[in-house]
């Protein structure tokens, strides 16, 4: 944490911007953890299902994309917060 703020200070002498930049970095990093695990689960289970029953692959794929879309939204909200903190 200390090292990050020192490193950020090197590039950006403005104190408020600094804090925002650090917050932005952490916002995205933290927001990516949950959806990362979630998408892993979704796709893993979908592959399992497709391997067991290849006839159902089309249906499973549709549902898998839906699941990915819902899970991914959380990471993307983190990304939007990142943009807002960094540049707004």
């Amino acid at each position: 944490m200390e090292a990050v703020s020192i490193l950020a200070q090197q590039f950006n002498p403005d104190e408020k911007n600094n804090q925002a930049a650090i917050g932005a970095g952490f916002a995205y990093g933290l927001a990516a953890i949950g959806p990362g695990i979630g998408i892993g689960y979704v796709v893993g289970k979908a592959i399992e299902a497709m391997a067991r029953q290849p006839e159902a692959a089309g249906m499973v794929r549709t549902t898998m994309f839906l699941g990915i879309a819902f899970t991914e939204a959380l990471a993307l909200i983190g990304f939007v917060v990142f943009i807002l903190l960094k540049f707004a």
Partner: protein, 254 residues
């Protein structure tokens, strides 16, 4: 901004374009081109003789309509939803053309990376599925079916009903818009980052920095291919979610 003596532009340089004429900039132009391209594809496809084997643009039109009917409408709304195919096809092609400009040289800006287009489209979808729900079920029973899913113990409804209400009427359009917007913006930023890094390394002036440009350059090529996939996938996801919402409004769970 300057990092390690390499110059990087501010984010506003990447997204804010000068007006071509008042209140009409490159993003708006891409939107108009996307609409025209969609119209042209289907007008041209319609002019071909239907008795001959399909060629060229008619193939594109037939494959996409078939795909949206078979893989999206029948899977999510059902047989009585086939009337929604034109609406979903137009959405798919508009979003796809707005996305694909991300990697087309000289355009290189996904129109969907500005919040206005995804937000407007999400608003349209929100209006459509609510209208469909009210038309098919009546106002109060639509509200009841949306907020009170069946098979939940009575006491839990105090918790479930507000959550369902917020998620159906407020979070849905938001997440629909933000998903498309953030995906395309993220892709655009990635491409820009590696393109600028390549350029900055080539023109760095320090001899030992120049050969390193190979690394970001390969990343750029790889990401360009990846963004084609993302463009199609996001158009598909936007369309299928629209279909799912319309399907949910047409056939409530019993």
């Amino acid at each position: 901004m300057s990092v390690f003596a390499l110059d990087f532009p501010e984010i506003s340089h990447l997204l804010v374009w000068p007006d071509i004429f008042p209140s009409f900039n490159k993003v708006a132009l891409i939107g108009v081109v996307a609409v025209l391209a969609t119209v042209i594809i289907f007008v041209l496809a319609n002019r071909k003789d239907p008795m001959k084997a399909p060629t060229g643009v008619r193939n594109v039109a037939e494959v996409s309509v078939e795909f949206i009917e078979g893989d999206i409408v029948l899977q999510t709304i059902g047989r009585d939803g086939l009337g929604w195919t034109p609406f979903l096809v137009s959405i798919f092609f508009f979003v796809f053309f707005c996305n694909i400009t991300e990697i087309i040289p000289t355009a290189q800006m996904p129109a969907t990376a500005r919040m206005a287009i995804p937000a407007t489209m999400a608003l349209v979808v929100w209006l459509v599925y609510n209208t469909v729900g009210i038309k098919h079920q009546g106002f109060f029973s639509y509200l009841k079916n949306s907020c009170f899913p069946p098979g939940v113990p009575f006491a839990l409804y105090f918790l479930v009903a507000p959550i369902e209400f917020v998620s159906t009427f407020i979070v849905r359009p938001f997440s629909l818009a933000i998903r498309l917007f953030a995906n395309m913006l993220a892709g655009h930023l990635l491409l820009v980052t590696f393109a600028i890094l390549t350029d900055a390394l080539i023109t760095a002036g320090t001899a030992f920095l120049i050969p390193i440009f190979v690394l970001p350059f390969f990343m750029l090529v790889f990401l360009t291919a990846f963004e084609i996939l993302v463009s199609v996938l996001q158009a598909y996801i936007f369309t299928i979610l629209t279909a799912v919402y319309i399907g949910g409004a047409t056939h409530p769970d019993h």
